[in-house]
């Protein structure tokens, strides 16, 4: 099915959805912030 093949090809071309150094930095910053909040919550619990 040529139409389906064209659609799959178009979809796969969108991968990876986002890939840049800045995104990676933001992503890891959010990650660390959340881990820190979790750590604070554990300290509060204790």
């Amino acid at each position: 099915d040529n139409s389906l093949a064209r659609q799959v090809s178009s979809l796969l071309r969108r991968l990876p959805a986002i890939e840049s150094g800045k995104f990676q930095d933001d992503f890891l910053m959010e990650y660390n912030d959340t881990l820190l909040v979790t750590y604070l919550a554990m300290i509060t619990n204790c």
Partner: protein, 308 residues
């Protein structure tokens, strides 16, 4: 599914005549809200930002269920800081209701809604007195509270529907309602009045047209869901929650210290329960954050790790 949208005037007149709610303060048990009314109320509440907004709901009664068909905003600002902001809008409400009837909308006003941005769905002192007044002169009347801030952070509509008891009525012991975090600056108001009202079960309904329109929006909904992140959208709200938590901790700490100094035996139980609440609040905050992070990690693995 669309039969609910038909207005039965005779049935309405009969119920108005019987007034079953006068003999049973707990008569109304359920609320059904239309998708249209819900969307309008949530969008209106979101538009207010951190300011409380207020509006009215139109609908009808079916047995012990109040059915909310539509809602409209009132041109008033702030509710918690003023006594019964509704008073400013009486003229507007009368005009609106009359014009509605002329336009063929037969439903009456069945209640009011207002927002509690960031501090949960319950009735404060002013809310209780406003609702009791409404239940004296405008029955059947319902109070709905929406928290737009928590709606965003929880990813589902934070909404509560309430009815107050008559003055002096002693309600039967209520089942413990779901725990919710109350900010320090509201905690007094929350505790004092919670015996004066009860909450009703809220369900929603939509018409076949609503179904069709929502189906058409399905793709857009998914794109928005996948491309948004609670970690980013709720930064201010989470920061506010954590600072509220810090205040509560300090308050608990001073109480513990002051108790230690004096001879009065410490109300250990109360401090415990207060500290227990604080730890629950902090766990709740971090669980929401971890959920947000988990969805980010899952999306990153699914959509960013495969290379064409």
């Amino acid at each position: 599914t669309d039969a609910i949208y038909f207005y039965d005037e005779a049935n309405h007149a009969k119920i108005q005549q019987q007034k079953p709610w006068t003999t049973d303060p707990h008569y109304f048990k359920r609320v059904k809200i239309s998708a249209l009314a819900l969307l309008k109320m949530v969008v209106h509440a979101r538009s207010g930002g951190t300011i409380e907004i207020m509006g009215l709901m139109q609908g009808k009664v079916d047995g012990n269920t109040i059915i909310v068909m539509d809602a409209f905003a009132l041109p008033v600002e702030g509710t918690e800081t003023r006594v019964n902001a509704q008073a400013d809008a009486y003229e507007y409400m009368v005009d609106y209701s009359q014009t509605n009837k002329q336009a063929g909308r037969l439903e009456n006003v069945v209640g009011w809604y207002h927002s509690h941005p960031g501090y949960g769905c319950w009735l404060s002192g002013i809310d209780c007195s406003t609702q009791m007044l409404n239940q004296q002169f405008q029955e059947p009347f319902l109070a709905v509270v929406i928290d737009p801030t928590r709606t965003v952070s929880a990813g589902k509509v934070e909404i509560g529907a309430f009815r107050t008891y008559p003055e002096g009525y002693k309600p039967p012991s209520e089942p413990v309602s779901e725990y919710q975090t109350i900010p320090l600056n509201k905690i007094e108001d929350f505790g004092v009045h919670c015996k004066q009202y009860y909450s009703l079960d809220v369900t929603y309904f939509k018409s076949s047209l609503d179904n069709h329109l929502l189906d058409l929006l399905w793709n857009k909904y998914w794109v928005n869901t996948l491309s948004s992140s609670p970690l980013l959208a709720n930064r201010d709200y989470v920061a506010g929650q954590i600072s509220d938590l810090a205040e509560k901790l300090e308050q608990a700490e001073t109480q513990v210290h002051s108790r230690m100094g004096s001879m009065i035996p410490s109300k250990k139980k109360e401090d415990d329960s207060q500290l227990a609440k604080i730890t629950r609040d902090s766990s709740k905050i971090t669980v929401e954050q971890v959920h947000g992070l988990m969805s980010q990690v899952i999306k990153d693995i699914l959509f960013n790790s495969v290379h064409h």
